[in-house]
Symmetry: C2
Subunit: 138 residues, 2 copies
């Protein structure tokens, strides 16, 4: 049996976050001691690690909730799980695409400024003021 602090250390998830997950219905409500403190078992540690791993991969809590639901029904088809993974992959790819364009633009803006001039002549500020300097969409 773990206290919430021990669970926290074992799963690398902060204590208030564990309570938050419980509130959100992602983690089954823990049993309590006589003094009203939460006590957890191995199953809940596993569950929390699952959530943590999915969060680290960027899945929103709503998707994680759906994945947990599937876990609880091992006879259901896993097509939904695959779709959720695909959606997340798509989201990540979109973000990479956008950020890569931003990176190019920011590099150009940054490199165009010597850093020792007057801000009245600053290429950073001029670039931000006038979209015409840009070489990519964003």
């Amino acid at each position: 049996m773990f206290s919430i602090g021990q669970l926290s250390r074992h799963a690398s998830v902060k204590v208030p976050t564990i309570r938050y997950y419980e509130d959100m219905g992602l983690l089954a409500a823990a049993g309590r001691t006589e003094g009203n403190q939460r006590r957890y078992g191995a199953a809940q540690l596993e569950q929390l690690r699952f959530i943590k791993h999915a969060r680290d991969l960027g899945f929103p809590l709503e998707a994680i909730s759906a994945l947990i639901n599937l876990q609880d029904h091992p006879d259901r088809s896993c097509s939904e799980a695959k779709e959720l993974a695909q959606a997340q992959l798509h989201t990540v790819r979109q973000k990479i695409k956008r950020l890569t364009a931003l990176e190019a633009e920011l590099k150009r803006i940054h490199d165009g400024c010597s850093g020792d001039g007057r801000s009245g002549d600053c290429y950073v500020l001029a670039s931000l003021a006038d979209h015409g300097f840009c070489t990519t969409d964003h």
Copy 2:
């Protein structure tokens, strides 16, 4: 003179967002008609476009505020502007790095699942449950 709606259309920034920027002190408070409606001039359109452009590049409002400050003091050195651009570039690169690792992991997880099995045997769910399947850090 523009109404807030016209300003919104010219700068591609939503009306409530303009009011929010005013509240946050990023956009100078507009003059008002007798009936208390905001009226804007060309300078404010330019200012709003500056903010919009910086936001599109991912600068946080706080950094934008600092950049506006520099704009208003053309004789100050532009080193701060360069630093802010560099910080933003760094942030973007970090995000790309992390997302690229996630993409690889998600692709592996996604491709490992046929989508027509039972969720009890699903590779997506198994991967999320057990970090040991992973090939990168995250």
